[in-house]
């Protein structure tokens, strides 16, 4: 195992070493100690490796990653896994704002809560939050799936395109053009698959979730609004 102590090694050195990894690297398991809330840790990794961060990380942790499995044993700041392409990012604590923002693929698991704008402009990522999410989550979400075991804050899914939202708890309010939809069998199957891949207890029933998505009324210009111009 590669152990990197950020009390002794700079973040830049760490990220450079990770960027240099080749696809068939033997350095497949990394442990990062003393992150102390530093920003931009483990960003842009493109290799099938497992990286554990022992402690709280700052902004943009695990952003732009491909293939890697990244585990954070603590909280993360703004923009965890932003623009992730593939792989898995698992936060054991809470995530701050804009978790999984604009991400194209992969799986983001947050064991605690995620604050405002979780999944903003998501483009294909699957996000499973075991706690609750803050306001304006899934704003302009384009595709992918956001699963929330707890509650959602104000304006969920505002101006949403085609992402699927599943919330088990209460939703404080829905954003413009976001509506509740019927939870059909195919959604239950997909939801079960995601819950399983996030390691959620089998006792959590898919039937307890509600599905939300786009009413698709913002897709085209509505002639009734012509007088506004």
């Amino acid at each position: 195992m590669q152990v990197v102590d950020l009390a002794k090694t700079s973040k830049r050195d760490l990220n450079s070493r990770l960027h240099a990894l080749v696809p068939n690297t033997n350095e497949t398991h990394w442990r990062i100690e003393n992150p102390n809330g530093q920003h931009s840790l483990v960003v842009g990794v493109d290799a099938p490796v497992t990286i554990e961060i022992v402690g709280h990380a700052g902004y943009y942790c695990a952003g732009m990653t491909k293939q890697a499995t990244i585990l954070i044993e603590g909280n993360v700041g703004v923009g965890v896994a932003e623009n992730m392409m593939s792989g898995k990012v698992h936060v054991k604590g809470d995530a701050s704002q804009a978790a999984g923002a604009t991400a194209n693929g992969g799986l983001l698991i947050i064991d605690g809560d995620a604050s405002a704008r979780c999944g903003i402009s998501m483009k294909g990522i699957d996000i499973v939050v075991k706690g609750s999410i803050g306001p304006m989550s899934a704003f302009m979400a384009q595709s992918g799936t956001l699963v929330v075991l707890g509650d959602a804050g104000d304006a969920l899914g505002d101006s949403i395109y085609e992402a699927k939202l599943f919330v088990r708890g209460s939703v404080k309010s829905l954003g413009t053009d976001c509506v509740e939809k019927i939870l059909r069998d195919e959604h239950k199957i997909e939801l079960r698959r995601l819950l399983d891949s996030a390691g959620v207890d089998k006792a959590v029933k898919v039937e307890d979730f509600k599905r939300y998505g786009s009413a698709r009324k913002l897709y085209n210009f509505h002639v009734d609004n012509a007088s506004v111009y």
Partner: protein, 291 residues
């Protein structure tokens, strides 16, 4: 941008370390605010005396002129005057008439307030923050947006006894609020938007609101982006605007409650590894007070 730090001590044995812990937190937030810094420390106080923090101009001769029952402590270019409560009006009048070049930037039973331009670590060192003790303190590192980089524009702002406010963000209706508040007797020293927020809260408190009610009404009346940390004689309170535009993180242990704009600011606190670390929710008032 700007950075805010705050520390509320629960365990009395930690009180002598208040200043050194806050100094560490402030230095880390230099990245968010290298223009200027300031801090308010709630230290020892006497119920029948008042402390005035005075800065600017020449500070020599002030203590001598005010007489024996006024004590003074010089911290670089700030002066802390301690005087009997019943002399406050007379001392303020004397300062205004005889020493118009100095400004009273804070007053109250326990508050001491320091601010200066320059890197936060240098500002903390200049005033010996390291050696200050107390029950709670708040600090600010500034990256100016709405007004000039001057000492007067540095935070915290104090517009009432033992009250102070630090702000991360920017307000867009501060001119109209100022026009509303000035006729009500709230006066301002600077063009700064954050000072208007402090004045707004002082006005609400004066009208009988609790700190919590004052902060809740600020969510309705203030337009713009803000995370506020507000100090009072007994404690501090935190509120963020409804869209939580500016970051904030808090940590709580049996020994303290700490606030930082980023978690990095909290890393040096004792026992932080085991603290409950959480993000304050938008549009919700959090308050901690000593009874």
């Amino acid at each position: 941008m700007c950075g805010i730090v705050g520390l509320f001590i629960k365990d009395i044995s930690l009180q002598p370390k208040l200043g050194s812990l806050l100094a560490g937190m402030l230095a880390v937030m230099s990245d968010r605010g290298p223009d200027s810094a300031g801090f308010a420390v709630y230290g020892a106080g006497d119920a029948d005396r008042v402390k005035l923090t005075v800065r600017g101009g020449s500070l020599t001769g002030i203590a001598e002129a005010l007489g024996k029952d006024v004590t003074c402590a010089i911290h670089d270019n700030h002066l802390i005057l301690s005087l009997p409560k019943d002399r406050e009006t007379a001392v303020r009048r004397w300062l205004a008439a005889e020493r118009p070049d100095v400004k009273i930037i804070g007053s109250g039973q326990r508050i001491e307030l320091y601010k200066e331009v320059g890197l936060p670590a240098a500002v903390a060192e200049r005033f010996n923050l390291e050696t200050m003790a107390g029950t709670h303190a708040i600090g600010h590192t500034r990256m100016a947006t709405e007004s000039a980089v001057t000492t007067a524009g540095a935070h915290p702002f104090s517009t009432g006894a033992d009250q102070c406010l630090v702000h991360n963000g920017s307000l867009s209706n501060h001119h109209s609020l100022r026009r509303m508040l000035e006729p009500k007797g709230i006066s301002f020293e600077t063009d700064n938007d954050s000072e208007v927020a402090a004045g707004y809260l002082s006005w609400k408190l004066r009208e009988g609101a609790t700190l919590e009610q004052a902060l809740e009404s600020s969510l309705v009346d203030l337009d713009g982006f803000f995370t506020f940390v507000v100090g009072t004689e007994n404690g501090f309170a935190v509120v963020r605007d409804p869209i939580s535009c500016k970051p904030a993180v808090m940590a709580e242990t049996d020994r303290y409650v700490a606030f930082g704009t980023e978690y990095r600011a909290l890393v040096g606190l004792p026992g932080i590894e085991k603290a409950r670390v959480f993000e304050p929710e938008p549009a919700r008032v959090y308050a901690w007070e000593h009874n």
